[in-house]
Point group: C2
Chain length 551, copies 2
Amino acid sequence: MFRSWESNVKMQYFACRRERMELHGKNLIGGELSAEGQRSIVARNPATGKDLFPGFFEATSSEVDRAVRLAADAALPFSQCSPEKLAAFLIEIADQIQRLGDELLARASSESGLGLDRLTGERARTLNQIRLFAEIVRSGSWLQPFIDRALPDRKPLPRPDLRRTCIPIGPVVVFGASNFPLAFSVAGGDTVSALAAGNPVIVKGHPAHPGTSEMVATAIRKAVEASSLPDGVFSLVQGASPRVSIDLVTHPDLRAVGFTGSERAGRALFDAAARRANPIPVYAEMGSVNPVFLLPSAVADAERIARGVFGSFTLGVGQFCTKPGLVIGESGAAFEGLRGRLAELVRDAPAGTMLYGGIRDAFRQRVGEAAEVDGVTEVMAAVPAVVETSDKAEARAHLLSVDAGTWLENQELHEEIFGPATVAVGCDSRAQMTAVANALEGNLTATVHGTPEELEEYADMIAILRGKVGRIIFNGYPTGVEVSYAMHHGGPYPATTDAKYTSVGATAIYRFVRPVCYQDFPDASLPDELKNANPRGLWRVVDGRLTQEGW
Amino acid sequence: MFRSWESNVKMQYFACRRERMELHGKNLIGGELSAEGQRSIVARNPATGKDLFPGFFEATSSEVDRAVRLAADAALPFSQCSPEKLAAFLIEIADQIQRLGDELLARASSESGLGLDRLTGERARTLNQIRLFAEIVRSGSWLQPFIDRALPDRKPLPRPDLRRTCIPIGPVVVFGASNFPLAFSVAGGDTVSALAAGNPVIVKGHPAHPGTSEMVATAIRKAVEASSLPDGVFSLVQGASPRVSIDLVTHPDLRAVGFTGSERAGRALFDAAARRANPIPVYAEMGSVNPVFLLPSAVADAERIARGVFGSFTLGVGQFCTKPGLVIGESGAAFEGLRGRLAELVRDAPAGTMLYGGIRDAFRQRVGEAAEVDGVTEVMAAVPAVVETSDKAEARAHLLSVDAGTWLENQELHEEIFGPATVAVGCDSRAQMTAVANALEGNLTATVHGTPEELEEYADMIAILRGKVGRIIFNGYPTGVEVSYAMHHGGPYPATTDAKYTSVGATAIYRFVRPVCYQDFPDASLPDELKNANPRGLWRVVDGRLTQEGW
């Protein structure tokens, strides 16, 4: 996918004049189009195996430097933008994206292999996210003000007046994710939550969908200009080589990183940020196996559970970070029946198009590694073998079955397989099921199926699971991540590099702010949220008590 | 101070029977006294230069391993402890410390050189901190519950029921600080905020005050036993060599680190934690120069400001992380007058006893480096030179003066000098003063003196300062850190390794918790704070609206 533009694209150049005119392939450094490097990024349609046009210019080190410096210059004025203006800017971004119309969906579909229905839904989600954050900007809820009023007569020492609010942390780089070319890419949740707090953002577009990235970035640039905001508030740099990512993460003016992708790539960014002279936080959402624990009543309900599990792990060709990659139950005739039903569903499943060839290749390799473990049996979809040898990024569903003893001893079976595969683990006892729960690494989610009575009965195991995950689901499926206030899409390493934060939902904004305390400031010099009269009408903790009152 | 016990202490052993009987010098691994290693840690009284008894056993790797494993075993049961029981445990710790009586203060004084008045105040602060966190445990405010109720009829997809609360993160290691042998050591703010959230704690005692550490740890152990809590809830390991610290921070079962001390040591812990297979957060509070900006009216008020600055930078022999190490004003006759008055105060200042010889040596070295910079003039206290060549850890106050041009060009002048020294910087213009603000690294605090009108006039500079610090003070001094709700004692690197968190005040608890979300759980299986009826009467964000109502 990332072959040289020069070698294979030039001759088809004139045949594609229309699309070529629409997409320029350049980096958007603030308001400027920049193309100092090589036109080396070429997207390929994973459904056809054909290259897409134009080629895109990979950002040079000097372009990255310019983008981050511009962002640093914009940081202070942007942080002083009024909530009304900031919210209007976000809404303008949503409007500009909407105006891109179906051409955006067409390009995203040809770059990702995702269907138009899915992308229509994803666009709606993207716009809803933007509107949610516009609401949060207006409400000011993220400021979390605390006020301790002066106690001048306190003994032995008077207490000063202390007022704590939150401020933006500064330039943020967001790495677009391949599996959500709209909702977790250029104008996705990371970008919007960082902007909502008043931070300039530089997006590194994912090289699998550079055209989609350019279209959305152009929409955001229009919104920046329409809102008369500083130039450095938003930039897009394109890049396929690790050098671009490392240039970004190690830039001295950068203040935080948002990332969704593989554990390998996320860890490389985390390591680079930790080695800086001034380390910065990396919010990387990475690998998760999302175990599904079936309590006895669920095991007995084979048809319903098998259909549910199958639907969830093959949804979007298994390309969700919340895909259930592990299904655990107590062995016996009932569990064998359920595994058998799952195997039938897998055998009958059609092939699906994965996001790009590299992901399909990694999927094949990981399934192969897991299937080779002694004691693992493999069932795969019975579609003609030819699809997996073509240039197209197609993949078949897989079910791997293993007993818990073998699973516990083989680390290869504990790690995420990104794609339409799941591992069904049979336990010889309830104690062994608890041992599986104990052996899990950090995960985004865990799911439990059973009756409310069983949930109480297995409370000890639930407590263990809760300690391993960011979200715990009863009688549902982990795919489907609601964008709301209470959502927590995070979890202990390797699910994320920082278990305290979510990348989905209202509290995602907390990643990009930090507290600051004013001591004995005159009212007129305080930010509005800390003024005596509480002009924004916020809920504030005053002398330890939550109140909306001013004075 | 950390010379071998064997070489210089043995012969005085029998002369000190009484103290020897009181302190055993062993590690407290859960409920067990453990002494597998060498008795290699010897405290010295910095005021007399004499060694103190007994020697203390440095923890071996296997003792560290046992302490962390015990903590890991205790984590789940301790996390399920009721708020009432947890709060009672904290109060019991305070009571047990109080029962140590004045013997604790006497030992702390002989190990730290701090006076009994200061230590009496520090004990009161320590006990108040514990009581504040007991209150927070009872109130449940740190749980920050969010509830999004199910919308079963929503189109195109129903919304599940989502409920977010916070849970403890697991075993925490706390590194005792030398400069607060009570308030930021064994039962200090880090320990208490970690325990309050339900996390087991292992304290690594500071080797400058091992006896104080042992006494307080013994008090905590009594509270653990009186409260019938799991053994691993609290351990104390003693250590002077980096090996002990690295064993702790790299233990696979550890989940977070709290530290107060030098940038060098804090960074070493941060680096070790970042290199782990599963990285964990390090909350290190490190170096800060705490600049004081004098606006014209303050420069003109030489006598008052000189006395205030002098009092603040020599308080506690300059051994506060918030010591003002930089005083900035516009040059001219008024500023020269202020510098002259400061110089007089410094010349007349008595020598002070620093915490231990190593800190005094580092202070001398740093002052020397700064004074050697071309363009720096130095004034020091006129006490007899002999005190600085004695075995005692005495130090004299220093004032270094420099013009802003020289300061801007010399990085040695930007870094913290821990001890009774400050650097007075004269700027040739308001623009140069802003350049100094821009050149600052991250700091815990910045202070501005002037009139409210000047504060408005210099709003641009204030905005720059706010971006560099965790707390900004008007017409006050940074020393004196209130333990309250609105306090934020943190700041960008190198002030801390994580600018989002405070180590002082109510929100310090947020370091040691993480969110978790329950999806579609039956009411009976939810934690109390998420149940429909809201039995704890908490403020919760329900469907985006803050309320105390249940249903």
